[in-house]
């Protein structure tokens, strides 16, 4: 077990002008391609009584809609596009992470010590902090937009600074997306390292158990990210509702 090399930054595969394209970005593109391909195939010949892939797609959408409406009520339908997209992307990206050629689970290159010069061909998209941070930033901007829509820019600034309670909302709003991204990254990166170490130590059978565990972690993390996004949006929407009620009451 000489020389485990685990690197947190993703390996740069090539440069697109000044932009470095890492193996995690390529993995994210592949996850998107899988989702787009599935959507195209599932909706190509839609039937009233769904069969095959259309059935799977309808089941996924209906389940996600039920989750959204359970937390946010009728407004949950408005949140479905973002929450559902995030859930499906995270799920597919996480599950693709245990395929051959994906990062630490790559048994084909077994024994090679990954470095920046000789990195794994691909790595799970969410094991790069930048990708969860980008998703969390999208959620944060959306949530703030919901708040601004409810109380206007001045009211929003007042809410963040003066409160009540003063400053707590500001710190909460900044720390929510950070914690959202850190949790997803931490779990997926640690899972990848766990599978890698187990593969190095035991070679056979045991890594398969951990890969199965990673499949479970993959769906749990996707559900948690989607649920929390939904809760943050539903909070903002509820305050939006309060804002409307308040303004009706004062006029």
């Amino acid at each position: 077990m000489e020389g485990f090399v685990v690197e947190i930054p993703a390996a740069v595969v090539f440069m697109l002008g000044p932009i470095p394209i890492t193996n995690t970005i390529i993995a994210a593109w592949l996850a998107m391609a899988v989702l787009i391909g599935f959507s195209v195939l599932a909706t190509r010949r839609m039937e009233l009584v769904p069969r095959g892939m259309q059935n799977v797609a309808e089941f996924a959408v209906e389940s996600l809609l039920a989750i959204c409406e359970q937390v946010a009520g009728p407004k949950g339908r408005d949140f479905l596009p973002l929450v559902g997209t995030l859930f499906l992307f995270i799920l597919v990206a996480n599950w693709m992470g245990i395929l051959p050629f994906w990062g630490e689970s790559d048994w084909i290159h077994h024994g090679v010590h990954w470095t920046h010069d000789h990195g794994p061909p691909l790595r799970s998209a969410n094991s790069d902090l930048n990708i969860p941070l980008a998703m969390a930033a999208i959620v944060a901007v959306w949530v703030q937009w919901l708040r601004i829509r409810s109380s206007g820019v001045l009211g929003w600034v007042k809410h963040l600074t003066i409160g009540p309670p003063p400053l707590l909302e500001l710190i909460s709003e900044i720390s929510r997306p950070i914690s959202l991204a850190l949790r997803l990254f931490g779990n997926i990166f640690a899972g990848g390292v766990l599978v890698y170490v187990m593969t190095e130590l035991t070679k056979l059978v045991v890594p398969i158990i951990f890969m199965g565990f990673e499949l479970f972690v993959g769906i749990v993390q996707a559900l948690i990210f989607a649920s929390l996004t939904l809760a943050f949006m539903s909070l903002a929407a509820a305050e939006h509702g309060h804002g409307e009620e308040h303004s009706r009451a004062t006029h």
């Binding site: 409406e69 937390v71 309670p165 710190i171 909460s172 720390s175 950070i178």
Partner: protein, 72 residues
């Protein structure tokens, strides 16, 4: 009020540690900014971190409420 599903309970419990840590870090960062502007020193860091801790707990309470409240 309604009962939490197992996924919601898992989301809340797994988020708690990260949210508290992130809030303390953000509070500490605000303390650093205040120190740079005013030069009050360690007091700003301490106040910021404490405020961050309170904000983390406040944020968690709001999150739990968001899941528990019945809407529609």
């Amino acid at each position: 009020m309604r009962r939490l599903t197992i996924w919601q309970a898992l989301a809340i419990s797994s988020q708690f540690g990260f949210l508290l840590a992130a809030a303390v870090l953000v509070g500490f960062g605000l303390g650093w900014l205040v120190d740079r502007w005013t030069g009050v020193g360690a007091l700003a860091y301490f106040a910021g971190a404490t405020l961050g801790m309170v904000a983390g707990i406040y944020s968690m309470i709001k999150l739990v409420r968001a899941f528990l409240q019945r809407r529609g």
